[in-house]
Structures are given as structure tokens and as C-alpha cells.
Amino acid sequence: MTDLFNSFMTGPDEKGRFGDFGGRFVSETLMPLILELEDQYERAKTDDSFWAEMDFLWKHYVGRPSPLYHAERLSEHLGGARIYMKRDELNHTGAHKINNVLGQIILARRMGKTRIIAETGAGQHGVATATVCAKFGLKCVVYMGAHDVERQAPNVFRMKLLGAEVVPVTSGRGTLKDAMNDALRDWVTNVRDTFYCIGTVAGPHPYPAMVRDFQAIIGKEAKEQMMQAEGRLPDTIIAAIGGGSNAMGLFFPFLDDTDVNIIGVEAGGKGVNDKMEHCASLTGGRPGVLHGNRTYLLQDEDGQILEGFSISAGLDYPGIGPEHAWLHEIGRAQYVAITDKEALGAFQLCCELEGIIPALEPSHALAHVMKIAPELPSDHIICMNMCGRGDKDIFTVARALGVDMTGPEGRAVD
């Protein structure tokens, strides 16, 4: 048993803090709602029937457990460590997002809420939320930056097919953070019947802890599967980070296994430089308060929030979950940045060597694997989280590679 006093898994405290990070920085109108949510979540957490419903749906609706896959050709190609992929891209809706959405929607139903709102960047969380709402017959409204609505048209259409109302957000600069602002504005207006389903491990307490707990199924499975495959835990685990929910899901069950190296990979965009053309909050930001929590943020000298930049719309957020900020400060996890160019290289290599088209988000994690694996011995085991599939990204990748998909040969079919 791990000594409770030396455990990394006891957070957050009663104020919703991980060290100095997290908290409940919301307006008074939302405060009672957040306290009610915390209360209901605390009850659900220890209620076997809640987890029984989750387990059933994870298995029969999402398709869990997701496989742990030994990427043999990639390992061989890189000529170092043994590389495993946790295949969460095989989940229903194509990413890890649904793990969390199921939990929140079941909770919303228990709380008697009839209207679900969500923010989305790339559209993966929006699609997952629209999906589960369709399954349960709940009204679903998704806020999405107007800029993202344009560049993620297939996901917008998916959400509409699933019966969701997609609201293009034009306030601010029309990106993911503005979508979150507008979702909060909706919630503050429709407090009685509405549940806000946040897509990542950020926001006011209890969201960072709750979303982590729902995503922790990734790490729990990976641990068991790794024991079966190799008879021991991996040496290194790696995941990409925007807000950080897939990473927190993989990392959390390993936090007290201090022999396991933990690496989070942020989006370095065009490079972590003074021009701030990146989304690397930990590598290139500093602590601040936004969207209900204290965490590392991209901001200017005056404390104004800056827009991030990344080829991956799913990593395009100027903040990061507060638990990551804490793990960074105490040094339990290491955080690095990968550029768009490096991620694109990894995307292509994964397609060619493994027959897996990864999303651009895990392509960042994979790019870091490519950097470190060649230098590691062959008995070093790496487990990376393949948290999403790349179907949604083919247009972006084509553009980046200079391929015209609107021409006669590559014409996009509606």
C-alpha cells in the first residue's frame, strides 16, 4: 500500500486545490451550482450502481477496454525502446472524450437536468456530448468558436446529425476559450435545467477531479494490460496535452508508481518563442486565473489572455488542467513541447508503419516518442496514449502537405 502522506493521488483538497492550483473562481450565480455538482459527484463516486452503469456503457456502447497495442514496426524503425499504444482512438466517436461525457451525462440525469451544454474546439468533445445526449434523449447545445466551425465542418455536420444545436461563437476571437466563455454565459443564464459538460480536466472544482476520475479508466486498463503483456509496468508513459484530459486519464493511476517516468507533450505550434505562436501553457506560460481555476496560462504582461496557436484544434487552448500545473511544479511529471512540423512527421510515420491514422493531438505525443525512443535500450517500455483517430484531420494534414483535396482527383465527397 502506498503511504497516504506521500501519495500523489490524494488531491484536490477541500478547496479544490492541487497545491496552489485549481480552486473555484466563478461568479456567485454559478457557485451554488458548482457546490451542488460537487455534492452529487461525491455521492455518485461511492455509489456502486453509478459505476455499474458506467461499466456497462463503457463496455457495450463505447467498446472498452481499448486495446494495448505493441507497435512493433515503429519500435523496430526507431531502433530503441519497445513502444506500446493505448488505443483509445478505437472508442465509439473516435477519441477518449466519450469516457468522460458518459460519466457527466449519467450524473446530469441523476440530478434531473434536461439540457446539456458543452464547449468544443476540434469538435471531438462536441460530437461525444451530442452522441450521448442522443442516446439518452437530452437536449444538447454545443458552443464552438466560429473559426473552428469553419475548419472542422465534418464534425459540425456530425453534431447536427446527432440532433445537437451548434452555436458558432463570435465573441472574443471566436476560438475554444471563447466557446467556453459562452458556455459559461449560457449556464449562468439557464441555471435551473442545464448541466455544463466540460470536456477537459479544467474549470472550477469539481470538474478537474471529476473529469480525471472518468478518464482514469485509460490508465487503469493500461496498467493491467501492461502487466499481462510484459509482466511489469512501463518505464515511460506519454500523452499529448491541450487541456490535458487524456493525459491525466493515463497518468493518474501511475502517479504513485514513482519508477514510471511521466511525460506530457504540449503543442509547440511554430515553436515556443516570444511570438507566442504555440499552445504550450507550461513551457511558455505562467500562473493565472481563467475559467474557474488557477493554472498556467498564455497571457501578456497585463494578465490578458493570449490566443494559442497549433495545427491541432484540439490542443488550441491557452490553459491547462490545474493538476498538470501542480505535477509540473512538484516535478512528478515532465512537460515538453512538440512543433506542428514534428507532429506532422509523426502523423505520417504512424500511417505508414502501423496502418493507424492518428489524430493530430496524439501525433504530438508520438513525435516525442520518436525523439526519445532511439536513445533508449530495447528493454525500456514506453506507453503512449493514442487518444484519437485522425479522420477528422485529413483535410488539415492535406493542406499542410500541399495536397489539394478539392481538385477532381481528391474531391471531398459530402
Binding site: 466563478v26 456567485e28 450565480t29 451554488p32
Partner: protein, 268 residues
């Protein structure tokens, strides 16, 4: 006693309700914002709420959002907002200034440094939307110690159980948010606000001022008649934003102030 306390004391003796006007610092530009601000006391404004621009104003509707954006686009910062307060204070030593905004620019500057600078600039109180009582250690308690009022929002979701917590470290006045929603949203209904104001007043000696959704002199009069005062923000900011000349803006403010001052006092 702060300027805010003195102002309410004077209003009480005169038997008048308070009229509070909100403008955004640096909107539409720094010079005109100051010009408007300097004209507010003569237009009948008892307390000035000076908006501190922020990129992500989660509790504000489009009107205030755009005002903040205009200000930021024009180079407005926290430091320049304090300079604006100082410039106003140089010509007016009695009208209270309440800074209203979000926590991050203050946190970014450093709480102690900000409080010292704000006080030196002649700021009297703070309304920081994203700091509920649960986060009082952050700024509320240090602000009170530094001699600034920390004015809290009470809302329709603040039930009796929470009310004492909300009132606990509040000073200056209580700002009752008339509806669940964002600034500049639906029209306020004085008859639904009245029992809420009464409920809060029963638990505190502080004046209760009502804001959100007050757009016209008629609404200002109706709300003032059931509270100790009324705040108008978006309706004023909208006129500044569409380019009304300063005298026109101030005439509108005057019509609001006169209406609000006609409201009957609910407290003795």
C-alpha cells in the same frame, strides 16, 4: 469610513437612493473615457463603477465584451486604468470609484502591489466577479485590510444558506444581480426584485443596490423604488460604443440619475 460609506451616509440624510453608473476604462479610447467619467458626478452619478478591461469577461453580455475589446485594442491596461482613476481623483475628491472586473489582471500584477497602487490612485472599492466567498483569502481579505471596500454580488441563486457567507466579508454595499444571466440581458422586473432585496436587507445593514438589465429611466426609477439604489451599465456603454458625443452620453446618464433619485427610500 471610506468614500463609499460617506456617500451612503449623505444619501441617507438627504433621503435619496443611489445612482451608480458603469463605464469601461479606455472605451472608446482613453481620452474620451476620462472625459465621460469626469462628467458623471454633475450628471447625478453618486458612485462610479469603472470597468477593468479583460479579454475573457465570462459574466458580461456582448455590449460590455465589445467595450472591453475596444479598450484593449486601444492599449488599455490595468496600470492605465489606475492612471485614469488618479486623473479623475485629481478633480473630484468625493465621488467613490469602484473598480469592476476579473481577477487575472490583478493576480498578474500581484495582489499587494495592486492594492497599494489602487489605493494611492483613489480607488475606493472592488467588485471582482470571479472571486466568490470561497476564495476570500485571495483578494477580499487583503483588500479590506488595505482599506478598500470589497463589494460582493448576491444573485437569485444565493439561497438563505449562502447569504450569510456572501455577506460575511462584504463592505460598502451589496450588489444584487437582478437575474440569472449576463450583463445587458433581459429587462429587469422590479416586482420580482423587491422580495429579494427585502430578504437581503433583513440580513445586513449595508445598502442593497440592484444591477443587470436596467436600461431605461423608467426601469431605473422602478428598481430604485424597491432598493437603496440602482446600477446602469450596458445601456450607457452601448451609447458610448455607437459613438454618441460625450454631452449626449451624459444627458442620457442624467435622465437615468434623475429617475433613480425619484425612487422612494425603502430604508430609514
Amino acid at each position: 469610513m471610506t468614500r463609499i460609506d460617506r456617500t451612503f451616509e449623505a444619501l441617507r440624510l438627504e433621503g435619496r437612493d443611489a445612482f451608480v453608473a458603469y463605464i469601461m476604462a479606455g472605451d472608446p479610447n482613453q481620452d474620451r473615457a476620462l472625459e465621460v467619467m469626469q462628467g458623471l458626478p454633475d450628471a447625478g452619478v453618486d458612485i462610479i463603477e469603472l470597468g477593468l478591461p479583460f479579454t475573457d469577461p465570462m459574466a458580461d453580455g456582448p455590449t460590455i465584451q465589445l467595450a472591453g475589446q475596444r479598450a484593449l485594442d486601444g492599449g488599455m491596461t490595468l496600470e492605465k486604468t489606475l492612471n485614469m482613476a488618479r486623473a479623475f481623483r485629481a478633480g473630484d475628491d468625493s465621488t467613490p470609484i469602484v473598480l469592476m472586473g476579473y481577477y487575472n489582471p490583478i493576480y498578474s500584477r500581484g495582489v499587494d502591489r495592486f492594492l497599494a497602487e489602487a489605493r494611492a490612485a483613489g480607488v475606493d472599492g472592488l467588485i471582482i466577479v470571479d472571486l466568490p466567498p470561497e476564495e476570500d483569502d485571495e483578494l477580499c481579505i487583503p483588500a479590506q485590510k488595505a482599506g478598500l471596500n470589497f463589494i460582493r454580488l448576491a444573485t437569485p441563486t444565493t439561497d438563505d444558506k449562502r447569504l450569510s457567507k456572501v455577506l460575511q466579508n462584504t463592505s460598502g454595499f451589496v450588489y444584487y444581480v437582478s437575474m440569472t444571466g449576463i450583463t445587458g440581458a433581459a429587462e429587469v422586473q422590479a416586482d420580482t426584485v423587491a422580495p429579494e432585496v427585502a430578504r437581503i436587507s433583513a440580513s445586513t445593514d449595508l445598502p442593497v443596490i440592484v444591477g443587470f438589465g436596467v436600461k431605461t429611466p423608467e426601469a431605473a426609477a422602478a428598481v430604485a423604488s424597491v432598493a437603496d439604489g440602482v446600477v446602469v451599465g450596458s445601456a450607457i456603454v452601448e451609447r458610448i460604443g455607437r459613438g454618441d458625443a460625450v454631452p449626449e452620453v451624459l444627458n442620457f446618464v442624467k435622465s437615468l440619475a434623475e429617475a433613480a433619485h425619484q425612487g422612494e427610500q425603502v430604508h430609514d
